[in-house]
């Protein structure tokens, strides 16, 4: 599965990095967030648990807000919504 970045709504973008291991999810997330405008939301889909902690720490350091976190039942796939500060 290749990385996917697409616009899903006004100011809302989807970044799908399922299948990627460290450091790809966190680096793609950082790159994606850099491109967004303040107030935009990134919907992030990933399935590498160890990347989650790095991404959460990154958001805290950059002042970006994680507004939703969901984990698929029975799988390691996670779906987060991150608002750029």
């Amino acid at each position: 599965m290749a990385v996917k970045f697409e616009k899903t709504g006004e100011g809302i973008y989807l970044l799908d990095v399922q299948g990627y291991v460290c450091p790809h999810p966190q680096m793609y997330t950082k790159k994606g967030m850099e491109k967004l405008k303040p107030g935009d939301v990134l919907e992030l889909v990933f399935d590498n648990p160890s990347s989650g902690e790095s991404i959460a720490a990154m958001c805290q350091a950059d002042g970006n807000q994680i507004i939703a976190q969901e984990k698929e039942t029975g799988k390691s796939t996670m779906r987060w919504r991150i608002r750029k500060s």
Binding site: F5, P49, M58
Partner: protein
């Protein structure tokens, strides 16, 4: 986003996970398998307790590594790539704690540690290893625990670095032309057995003609403390581990944590008190990592104590003697030894496993110093240190199952390519550096061996190089994805 059955999670909250019933059964099955291995082997011959000691410490390492997501690659890579110091802080905590435990074990006369020679090779080996571990996404121990999480990519890393080591320590031919004449002369002068062909093979001559000529010493020995307690605690722990770790943490605080901490500060800035509070906030920021670091530090020290105790009880100084006494002479080195560090180690036993497979396929791996003279190539079922690696995977699997994080993941071609290529670099780096992030860094800096910091320096530089490349690579891919959008 599409609607799927999901649970809302808080990744920062303490881990109270509702384990799925089938995962509890699977976790017990894995635990049960290792328990049966221990009990059955003990029933056959009580001396297998030596193997079981390695096994259960490996299991604890695996559980701790997975719980704390402990990974040296993450420590260096995330610091430079995404500005996250969490794992670097965790590693330093583990270094401080393990150094104290190691000092205690040393004073008690139970240490199995031997310092490595000090030389530039450590920096070079660390550099190559550091580049590789950024490409693979995990260090040597990290790749093992991620294998336990079901990552086939991590398994590819383990296999790649294992087989690379075997080919690298045996490679001769045109590589012999890259060997300085002084190394060849020095190797020849050592009078080594002809069966290990000490002047044929780059690595043999690197070892016998260069590394063996270097001095190996701990800080405690170098400072010539007469009091063994001072040597261990002041020399090895305080000077070689605690002070450098504290300074590194201070640098991390100033460079990566302070800005966000002061930005979110409530109650005003009060000078040094605030800075100290910020430093402590950084140290305790990730509870999982701190707990894992604590357990790893304690377990690693206890491991040395137990192995030394067992060696004394069994009247041996190396597992090779044990294997001989048990009637297993095959695969030992010509000195009747096998690799038996007596503490947490990763890459050498993996190389032994790969060498055994290649031996079965008709390759002669015993004509090298690495295997033929020093470490041997015992049957994996009779390799106590390899039991530790296998059980590390098992321990990680159990923790992953309990956290509902276990999932078989087959990598994409891109990830598989990175895994294999990075694994090759890690294999070469581990042999040049005489170990990996555990054997050449964690175990050494915590036992007073300054060569570990040289390897760590190399790993950091290599990690930075790897991150620079990945920044370019990912920027390129994101640009391609974004080019279709009008917004960018």
């Amino acid at each position: 986003m599409p609607s799927l059955p999901c649970n809302t999670i808080d990744v920062d909250a303490p881990s109270i996970v509702q384990t799925e019933p089938r995962n509890i059964i699977r976790a017990f099955a894995v635990l049960g398998f290792f328990a049966v291995c221990s009990l059955w082997s003990f029933a056959i011959d009580h001396r297998y307790i030596y193997f079981s000691a390695y096994l259960w410490f490996g299991f604890v390492y695996g559980m701790s590594l997975q719980y704390g997501r402990f990974c040296m690659a993450s420590a260096i890579r995330d610091l430079f790539a995404v500005g996250v110091p969490r794992m670097a802080v965790g590693i330093m905590i583990a270094v401080v704690l393990f150094s104290l435990v190691s000092a205690y074990v040393t004073v008690a006369g139970k240490s199995t540690f031997h310092a490595s020679p000090i030389g530039l090779y450590s920096v070079i080996g660390g550099l190559i290893f550091g580049i590789g571990m950024v490409y693979t996404g995990g260090c040597a121990s990290g790749s093992l625990y991620k294998t336990g999480e079901g990552s086939v990519a991590a398994l590819l890393v383990v296999l790649s670095l294992s087989f690379t080591q075997v080919f690298f320590v045996d490679a001769g031919g045109w590589l012999n032309h890259l060997v300085p004449a002084s190394w060849t002369e020095s190797a020849l002068a050592k009078g080594l057995p002809a069966t290990v062909t000490p002047t044929d093979g780059w690595y043999d001559q690197f070892l016998a003609g260069y590394v063996w000529n270097l001095s190996a010493i701990t800080v405690g020995e170098w400072l010539e403390f007469k009091n063994p307690i001072a040597a261990a605690f002041l020399g090895n722990s305080l000077i070689n581990a605690i002070i450098p770790a504290t300074l590194i943490l201070a640098a991390i605080y100033l460079g990566w944590y302070r800005k966000a901490y002061l930005r979110d500060l409530k109650g005003g800035y009060h000078g040094f008190t605030t800075e100290l509070a910020g430093y402590w906030s950084m140290v305790t920021a990730s509870k999982r990592t701190a707990i894992a670091g604590l357990i790893l530090g304690l377990a690693a020290g206890l491991h040395m104590w137990v192995m030394q105790g067992l060696q004394q009880r069994l009247g041996i100084s190396n597992a090779g003697e044990l294997l001989l006494a048990m009637g297993h002479a095959s695969g030992l080195s010509i000195q009747d030894t096998v690799f038996d560090p007596g503490y947490f180690y990763i890459t050498t036993q993996e190389a032994q496993g790969a060498a055994w497979v290649l031996q079965k396929l008709g390759f002669n791996t015993m004509d090298s110093i690495f295997f033929g003279l020093d470490n041997g190539v015992p049957n994996p079922l009779l390799n106590p240190v390899l039991w530790m690696s296998v059980s590390l995977i098992g321990g990680a699997a159990v923790m992953a199952l309990l956290n509902n994080e276990f999932q078989f993941k087959v990598p994409t071609l891109e990830i598989a390519t990175w895994a294999i290529f990075g694994g090759i670099l890690m294999g070469i780096g581990a042999r040049v550096g005489m170990g990996c992030n555990i054997g050449a860094f964690f175990a050494t800096v915590t036992n007073g061996d300054p060569s570990g910091w040289l390897f760590g320096l190399g790993m950091t530089i290599g990690g930075l190089i790897g991150v620079k490349f990945f920044n370019w690579w990912i920027e390129r891919k994101m640009a391609k994805e974004m080019s279709a959008l009008d917004d960018f």
